[in-house]
């Protein structure tokens, strides 16, 4: 009887899991099958039917020719690289100062970062817009970069959590050997923060790649499209050509999905450590 009961429970578990997987995979399935159909084939076949051939890459070629997708990928890559470099640099520097030294204004600096975490940047854009314009950053790649660095303080919180676990003995031993405080930052703290840096790189890459709001508001210029805004423009021009739009969707989904398959363990750890403090 015990084994029977176990069996029923397992059937329910697998059944619900399979429903979940079906719901998750249904929309991408539709996009994948239709991305490989010619317009003629698309019009006469059911949207759920497989394409005649998975080797028909015409739609993808058309998307690349019409869409400005190459510059979209290039722009978002530049933004990600510069943002991450500065985020890692500033994040570790602030964490070093706040995690290792005590000074008069420390509670104030600490508080400034904590309060900043509760101000959602989406609410302050009306005022941020004018600041970006006055700085001459409107319609430049600089706008998203400074906003991703200045208005998102999650990296500071992440690094501060990690630096607490690096033993202070390491600093003190280095000081006995006469190392400068800068050397301690560069050769002890910075390398030992690498796990946090890895988490930061993964989560920020995904969030910047997926962001629409900031590039849409601050970089309306045609040549400054990122993948999200390029896709929006492409859809606006080719509204009825769903097979083309499906191909464009697929091309934009691909990079993060591939990244995910290789780095899933780190992504799960990053998501969990970001939330469970």
């Amino acid at each position: 009887m015990g084994t029977f009961k176990f069996g029923v429970k397992d059937v329910i578990k697998y059944f619900t899991l399979l429903i979940g997987v079906f719901v998750v995979l249904f929309p991408p399935y539709v996009v994948i099958v239709n991305a490989f159909k010619s317009t003629d084939e698309f019009n006469r076949s059911s949207s759920l039917a497989l394409p005649d051939s998975f080797l028909n890459f015409d739609n993808f070629v058309t998307v690349f020719q019409r869409g400005g997708l190459v510059s979209g990928f290039a722009n978002v890559l530049i933004i990600i690289i510069i943002t991450l470099t500065l985020n890692i640099l500033f994040g570790t520097m602030v964490a070093y100062v706040l995690g290792r030294f005590s000074f008069k204004l420390k509670p104030l600096v600490f508080g400034a970062y904590l309060v900043a975490t509760v101000i959602p940047s989406i609410t302050t854009q009306v005022a941020t817009f004018g600041i970006i314009k006055n700085l001459g950053l409107y319609n430049t790649l600089g706008a998203p970069i400074v906003l991703y660095i200045g208005a998102d303080v999650i990296q500071i919180i992440l690094y501060l959590q990690f630096i607490r676990n690096i033993p202070v003995d390491l600093d003190e031993n280095a000081m006995v050997e006469g190392a400068s405080l800068f050397k301690i930052y560069r050769s002890i703290i910075f390398p030992l923060l690498t796990p946090a840096t890895a988490t930061l790189v993964i989560l920020k890459t995904i969030s910047i790649y997926n962001d629409m709001y900031i590039p849409y508001l601050y970089m309306p210029k045609q040549s400054l499209g990122v993948v999200t805004t390029v896709l929006m423009r492409f859809q606006g021009v080719n509204t009825a050509d769903w097979n083309l739009i499906c191909a464009a969707i697929l091309l934009i989904l691909l990079p993060t999905v591939v990244l995910y398959f290789f780095l899933q363990r780190y992504i799960f750890e990053g998501v969990a450590s970001g939330a469970v403090k």
């Binding site: 619900t16 979940g20 991408p28 302050t124 999200t228 998501v271 969990a272």
Partner: protein, 299 residues
Amino acid sequence: MPVFGTLSYSKQKTIIIVSFLLIPLLLLATFTYFPAIKLVYYSFTNWDGYSPEKPWVGLDNYREVFGNPDIFKVFTHNFAYFAMGIVQNIVAIYFAVVLNSRLRGKNAFRMLLFLPYIMNGVAVAFMFGYVFDTTNGSLNVFLNSIGLTGLGQTSWLGTEGLVNYSLASTGFWRFMGYNMVIYIASLQAIPRDMYEAATIDGAGPLQTLWRITLPNMKPVIQLNLFLTVTGALEVFDLPFVLTKGGPAGASQTYVQRVVETAFAFNNYGLASAMSIILLFFVVFVLLLQQFVLSRGGNN
């Protein structure tokens, strides 16, 4: 750095503190605090966004937001996202418990259920645009093919009472796995011996779920629920991309309304007041969360 290294440690400390904090604090001030302060100031003016003068109007904008039912009604559209978010958390807890039990292939299931979270939001929005399409949309084609022809004619994005729930279900699709992974992490943090002790005491599976699993998950459940509330208040990209707020404004969210008021109608004063009110709500929810969480910790 030979010169720097020869200085005394207290001098080094001062130099490091100042030089390491200077640029980060400048960025924080410029792009977080300065906009917040300006926002408060604008909210008391009826500035149009470009004129040099910003006429002071006192509390008029706030009166307008609370007095004009058209503006405040938009929050009812955000309610759909909140309702769906609650369902999303319940489903996420269910799958987390299932995937934390002994089960073949659980890593593959976890990987697939989390997959939507890493997908590009705009691409997902258009993907669902196609799924929800009335005549060619794959959802209706699918419903018709399994015999639900009554449902298969539905205009998922064109019906006023339905559109927000259709959009919110896209959010559900995208973020359920994210909640689930957080819940799985919290389940794994529950010590094994608690379960062993419960089994020895003769507790059944439902009792262990109710008495051990859920109480131990409480802080994380609270955290996720608060994220659901603030997320629902801040919805923007899905309706903006998919429906442009239509049909007839039925799916316009509050942030969309703010953006439109400022950048399309050049009413920066009113938009600022609307932003401050949203900011106030979000901060209120977060403070409530801190209060509830710290109280839970003390008990």
